[in-house]
């Protein structure tokens, strides 16, 4: 059996986990290709014009998998539906509807991974239900789930240690990127910027990778310094990162896609509250002229260098 996973949105949160989970169950996984211009165009064509850029890209990825369905014998496409989590944390409402939208606009077989703590669907249960639809017993899936979970955790800890090591050793200009994992990990959105900073000789760090993955209440609650009433899971993680790296970096860049619902509020608050570090807000849209963004990044680094001297 073969399943397809679109490499966009929530994939990046669960990347290692998906890989390991399906490998343990003996199911082959096909990932969609990296985002390119054509895929974005396909996504834009399939979506409502006001949707956020990241979800347009997501639909492009689903379309890519569907076009490869025949040639590569993909049986199902898995669409995660992440809603509510522990401690009243929720995701952006876009994630609530991805599965239903895909079912309505595409003609293909989809499987759902439904994580909704408020309705009693915790993560384990969601994976067991997914396993059931793939004809796997709950015992088998439970074991695979815990193995996969451990893999994911180790992967995240590795990533964090690498970043911290880089942060301590780095003598270059240090910039913190505050962006969702699906923005900075995307080949089309995030990588161009990463490459550009490499060219400029600037070390970049991601707020998304931070110590809040450990079971430590103090580290998990750092975000309260910036915002008390926030309830979006991903933005909480980002704010935790901002609090952690704040004193160690020279500048902060807020990256979001147009029109991101959660970032529109949280980044505004963050910019207003964090005042002792220079910051810049960059919003990416589907117009792909990068010259304007490169100019802004370059002048921002120039300013930071002057401040440092």
């Amino acid at each position: 059996m073969k399943i397809g996973i679109p490499k966009a949105l929530c994939y990046f949160e669960y990347a290692e986990m998906f890989k390991c989970f399906f490998k343990e169950l003996g199911i082959e996984v096909v990932l969609s290709n990296d985002t390119d211009k054509k895929m974005l165009q396909n996504g834009i064509y399939a979506s409502i014009d006001e949707e956020c850029l990241a979800s347009k890209i997501f639909l492009g990825h689903v379309k890519d998998l569907i076009s490869r369905k025949e040639s590569e014998n993909i049986d199902y496409i898995v669409i995660p539906r992440l809603c509510t989590f522990k401690n009243n944390q929720t995701m952006c409402v876009k994630f609530y509807a991805l599965y239903d939208i895909c079912c309505n606009i595409f003609d293909s077989k989809f499987l759902i991974l439904n994580v909704d703590y408020n309705k009693g669907e915790n993560e384990l249960k969601a994976f067991i239900n997914l396993g059931k639809k793939l004809n796997k017993g709950s015992y088998e899936t439970t074991i695979s789930y815990f193995k996969a979970k451990r893999m994911q955790k180790n992967y995240e800890i590795d990533k964090l240690n690498n970043q911290l090591k880089k942060l301590n050793e780095s003598k270059n200009l240090k910039i913190l990127i505050v962006a969702h994992s699906y923005v900075y990990n995307d080949k089309y959105l995030g990588f161009t910027i990463k490459d550009y900073f490499e060219k400029l000789g600037v070390d970049i760090f991601y707020a998304d990778i931070n110590s809040s993955i450990y079971k430590n209440e103090e580290m998990k609650m750092r975000y309260k310094n910036i915002s008390k009433s926030i309830y979006w899971k991903q933005n909480i993680k980002l704010l935790n990162g901002v609090c952690e790296y704040l004193d160690k970096v020279d500048g902060i860049i807020y990256f979001s896609v147009f029109p991101c619902g959660t970032d529109s509020l949280v980044n505004e608050l963050c910019i207003r509250k964090v005042k002792n570090v220079p910051s810049m807000n960059i919003i990416l849209d589907e117009e792909d002229g990068m010259a304007g963004i490169y100019t802004r990044l370059e002048s921002f680094t120039d300013i930071l260098e002057k401040v440092k001297k």
């Binding site: 309505n104 009433s229 991101c260 959660t262 505004e268 207003r272």
Partner: protein, 370 residues
């Protein structure tokens, strides 16, 4: 500027400022506190609101900001925000921060937490303004306010659905205006019921008995643009002036008391298209659309502010319904810069289409039945 210690203000939404005024006037200590109803919505409100709001935030935020700034300039120093689901719940913190950065000094009260209404917590917040307030009184007044809102919703629904059939043009509007004026000062349940009967009778007498064939239109979509006529460029009024029957589901009564219970029914109703909640009112939009289709409505208008994610989630599904059930649906997006002329042109074209469609259906039927 008044000499009172506290001046309370709140953002506008539709005509709900009336029951809110009624409630607040009972909760406050009249010696130290004054209620300031914010200025009527105007171009200035939205201009000033969007000037101080984040760039691509949804439009209710901008209207709220406009209301707050106008009130603060008039001397308000206690602001009340409702809160709710999706992004509404997070408005409060950002608005407070922005207003403080602008140099205003005020107290800030939120009514709903993201988890729902917690009456004890709300009481605690009001207690800070009026120390004499007892919990028993607070709860009783709160329940009374809910009843008043309920009656307001019922009356406004009646007006909305019957304004096309009124005997003399403008009569119902006049009755409605008097209704709102009187509702502000009602104090007991007895008064409330007498008042309700009086106005329902008045309204019923102003309406023709003959409810002949008119174009029937349903409005679905986001709650703020549905309930605040200014933000939707007086869409409903425009429609009734063009001679349409207008149906709308979203009211405060519905949102607070019926929505939670109705969720399962909505899921069942929409099961051919949706199997899960789409966030905020997305599922409701889909389910209500299907209901309107089954009830033989001629067309559906879907409204939302720019960037409203739950309603955007519902849109591809509505488009599919429109194709499969062969029902015209028009989508309006409202932002701070929507011009009235553009909306009107699109609306007129939509109506013309529906009239033609209706005639065509009638003709076909005649041919079939001879």
């Amino acid at each position: 500027m008044s000499s009172k210690k506290y001046v309370i203000s709140f953002p506008h939404i539709g005509n709900y400022y009336v029951p809110v005024y009624n409630l607040l006037s009972k909760l406050i200590d009249k010696d130290t506190t004054k209620i300031l109803v914010p200025d009527k919505m105007s171009k200035n409100t939205i201009d000033i609101g969007s000037k101080f709001s984040p760039e691509y935030i949804c439009v209710p935020f901008k209207y709220n900001m406009g209301n707050f700034i106008e009130s603060l300039n008039k001397g308000a120093n206690v602001l009340i925000q409702a809160g709710g689901g999706c992004r509404y719940g997070y408005y409060a913190e950002i608005q407070e921060q922005i207003l403080r950065d602008m140099g205003y000094d005020f107290k800030y009260i939120t009514l709903l937490d993201p988890e729902g209404v917690n009456i004890k917590k709300v009481y605690g917040r009001f207690k800070k303004i009026n120390e004499k307030l007892k919990f028993k009184d607070f709860a009783l007044h709160f329940i009374f306010a809910i009843k008043a809102i309920n009656i307001l919703d019922k009356f406004e629904t009646y007006i909305r659905e019957n304004i096309v059939f009124e005997k003399n043009k403008g009569e119902l509007e006049k009755i409605h205006k008097n209704f709102l004026e009187e509702l502000k000062y009602i104090n007991s349940y007895k008064e409330l019921y007498e008042f309700k009967n009086k106005y329902f009778n008045l309204a019923k007498n102003a309406v023709k008995n003959d409810k002949s064939d008119v174009i029937k239109i349903g409005i679905v979509g986001e709650l703020y643009t549905s309930m605040e006529p200014f933000s939707s460029m007086f869409l409903e009024k425009e429609l009734s002036q063009m001679g349409c029957f207008v149906k709308r589901y979203t009211t405060v009564t519905y949102l607070l008391f019926e929505k939670g219970r109705a969720q399962k029914g909505h899921l069942k109703n929409a099961k051919d298209y949706v199997c899960h909640s789409l966030g905020a009112d997305g599922l409701e939009s889909v389910s209500h659309t299907l209901e309107l289709v089954n009830n033989g409505y001629d067309g559906i208008i879907h409204i939302k502010p720019f960037g409203c994610t739950p309603e955007i989630n519902a849109m591809p599904i509505l488009q599919k319904i429109s194709r499969e059930k062969n029902i015209p649906i028009i989508y309006f997006t409202f932002d701070s810069q929507t011009s009235e002329a553009g909306i009107k042109t699109r609306l007129e074209a939509f109506l013309d289409m529906m009239v033609m469609r209706k005639e065509k259906i009638k003709k076909n039927r005649r041919e079939v039945y001879g």
